[in-house]
């Protein structure tokens, strides 16, 4: 009964809502199994995503963006917070209960070379999820898969071929086709283009955009490349050391970045125009270890504008109008 009540409060427009999500990995355990030291990979992340939108998540390596994606899919069990998918709280569902929901949320991995089984043909790879989830009757599987391959720009004679016969771009197309084979609503793209060349990158990004319009998909697009994220996203979240430091619509984030980290991140990207000589904000130092994050604001060790307050007090994650949120003391 209590569960029913909560469900009613959920925003029906949002396909995915994440509230104060937290994920820790144990580093040290005592003999009795008690965790004495842990790494907080995702700390207090909240956002809402509407159907048909794309959320881009950017950040440097080790900032927890991949863990966030995997925790949303429940490939990792979260340690706190809520994940609400399609009006249903899926945070504490058992894996048997998850099976039906898994059909609606899929993932595309970063490395197309290691995410395809080398011993099955493309046809086998694409038919298996269709068969397991009983998407179409058995007799129609082959025609369904061929149709899907055409949608993703794969020729029909690839059906009998093995993954090793393909180039990186083609393999990524196979991965995309596999993710789409069960008609998902939400697709998490974990750095889908970072292993590819520029000209192939453009092909895959265009394909993802085209499929989104055709099938009304919702994407969570994880990437370290800001220009790619800008191109594909409607909303952008910037992560640093496990927490979301800024979140907002693409226009807001790019025209008016609030957090000093976002500003530095933008200025660090080399622009392909020799005439633009940017006023670069060069951050000193490295990213601190997430196992031992700094006190107060996590960015204060590298922030050019850090004050004494930043070293002591963790800034609050607040909305500065129009859904543009940031966590920084300087914003008042």
């Amino acid at each position: 009964m209590a569960e029913e009540k909560i469900t009613e409060q959920f925003d029906t427009e949002a396909i995915l809502e994440v509230r104060n999500l937290r994920k820790c990995f144990p580093l040290k355990k005592t003999l009795t199994g008690k965790v004495t030291q842990e790494l907080v990979a995702v700390d207090n992340v909240s956002f809402k995503l509407k159907r048909g939108e794309t959320l881009g998540i950017v950040g440097e390596s080790g900032c927890g963006k991949t863990t966030l994606g995997r925790t949303i899919l429940k490939l990792h069990q979260s340690n706190g917070g809520q994940i609400i998918f399609d009006g249903q709280d899926i945070t504490d569902l058992k894996s048997s209960q998850m099976r039906d929901i898994r059909k609606k949320m899929q993932i595309i991995f970063q490395d197309p070379y290691s995410s395809l089984p080398p011993r099955s043909t493309v046809g086998g790879i694409l038919s298996e999820p269709v068969e397991v989830h009983k998407i179409v009757p058995k007799s129609e599987i082959k025609s369904y898969v061929l149709d899907l391959m055409e949608k993703c720009g794969l020729r029909d004679y690839y059906y009998e071929r093995y993954p090793h016969e393909f180039s990186g771009g083609q393999r990524q197309r196979i991965c995309i086709a596999r993710a789409l084979s069960v008609n998902p609503e939400l697709v998490i793209c974990d750095e889908p283009v970072s292993a590819l060349d520029v000209s192939i990158q453009a092909q895959i990004i265009n394909l993802l955009k085209e499929l989104q319009q055709k099938l009304n998909l919702t994407y969570v697009f994880i990437s370290h490349d800001l220009s790619v994220v800008k191109f594909i996203s409607d909303k952008i979240g910037v992560m640093y050391l496990g927490s979301m430091v800024e979140f907002g619509s693409k226009e807001d984030i790019f025209s008016n970045p609030l957090h000093p980290y976002t500003q530095a991140l933008f200025s660090a990207i080399p622009q392909p125009d020799p005439d633009i000589k940017m006023n670069r904000i060069i951050l000193s130092g490295d990213i601190p270890s997430p196992a031992n994050p700094p006190k107060g604001c996590r960015f204060h060790t590298r922030c050019p504008k850090a004050t004494d307050k930043c070293k002591e007090v963790t800034p609050e994650y607040k909305d500065y109008g129009n859904g543009h949120c940031a966590a920084c003391h300087l914003l008042g």
Binding site: S61, L226, V228, D286
Partner: protein, 377 residues
Amino acid sequence: MSSNYLSGKEIRAIAKENKKVMKRLEAYKYRKADESEYLTQMRDSSNILEIDSLHTYFFTEQGVVKAVNGVSFDVPQNATVGVVGESGCGKSVTSMSVMRLLQGPTGQIYSGEIRFKSKDKDGVEKVYDIAKMPMDDIHKIRGNQIAMIFQEPMTSLNPVFTIGQQLDEVTFIHNPDASKEEAKAKSIEMLNLVGIAMPERVYGAFPHELSGGMRQRVMISMALASNPRLIIADEPTTALDVTIQAQILDLLRDLKTKIDGSIMLITHDLGIIAEMADYVVVMYAGRVIEKGTVEEIFHNPMHPYTIGLQKSKPTLSSDSDTLFNIPGNVPNPINMPNYCYFKERCSRCVHKCSGDYPEMVQVSPTHFVACHLYNEE
């Protein structure tokens, strides 16, 4: 699709042919030779490195891979030359050929000249043809006059030695008379130069204790330890995060003025090239398709591939809805066609493109392009 697999007979025929060529080239590589044999003259005395129709082949079981197929470009003194291209276009193999680091017997410089103006301790300038140098003499140049920064800072340092031991080694190899104290002082000075805080501590640390950015700084300091005249940086920032990348690029720019040398920067990122380079060389499938100054390449690109490459990269300033994309893939490096390698992917293909591979056309004193569209005859 039968050409995907070779029959046993074909493989044996290829192996026999390869063995003959490899044996000849290996013998040439390890011959004893007098210095006069590989002394030569520069075409233009303001250049430090001139690569002239370099052919580097890999003799594999499937056939000969022409990884570098007639590459020519110059590196002027005190300039940064950016080499840009997609993976497999031969940009790294070009740099490996200059350093003579190709894995033998499979990888061989087949023909061509690499002229390098070296300067020994007494300040005497000599021009060597690196492609003809026997391996016994290569140490006169490698690591000493030309240094290389590799792509993977994680794997290019030896995990079982401290940073200090690895840095000292460079000094000892190029200056055998140096004492331990001198070597250490030099190493710490180098670490200081690349902006490492607490160089004494890093001197005694093992590579695994350092972050990616720090390791790349150590690699750069190692490259600088012998005052090279030319630094080859092979994708120096690809494995690093953007904020760390900005630091390293800043450092490289700084160092170029400090050491008074040239940089050959290899990357696939057009943004880095625009920011760092004075001259740009665009490579595709083992050939140079366009070269010129950075302004020429970015403001007036001529080859359809260069134009496509620039349009297909999403930028922060652009607002278009779909990205331009070049259809298709890079062609198979074995059995390359005779006509323009870009023909199948090119949108501006003309009748002539089915003919011979296009010659380099000069469009301005510094701007060259290999495309039939600009060939006036």
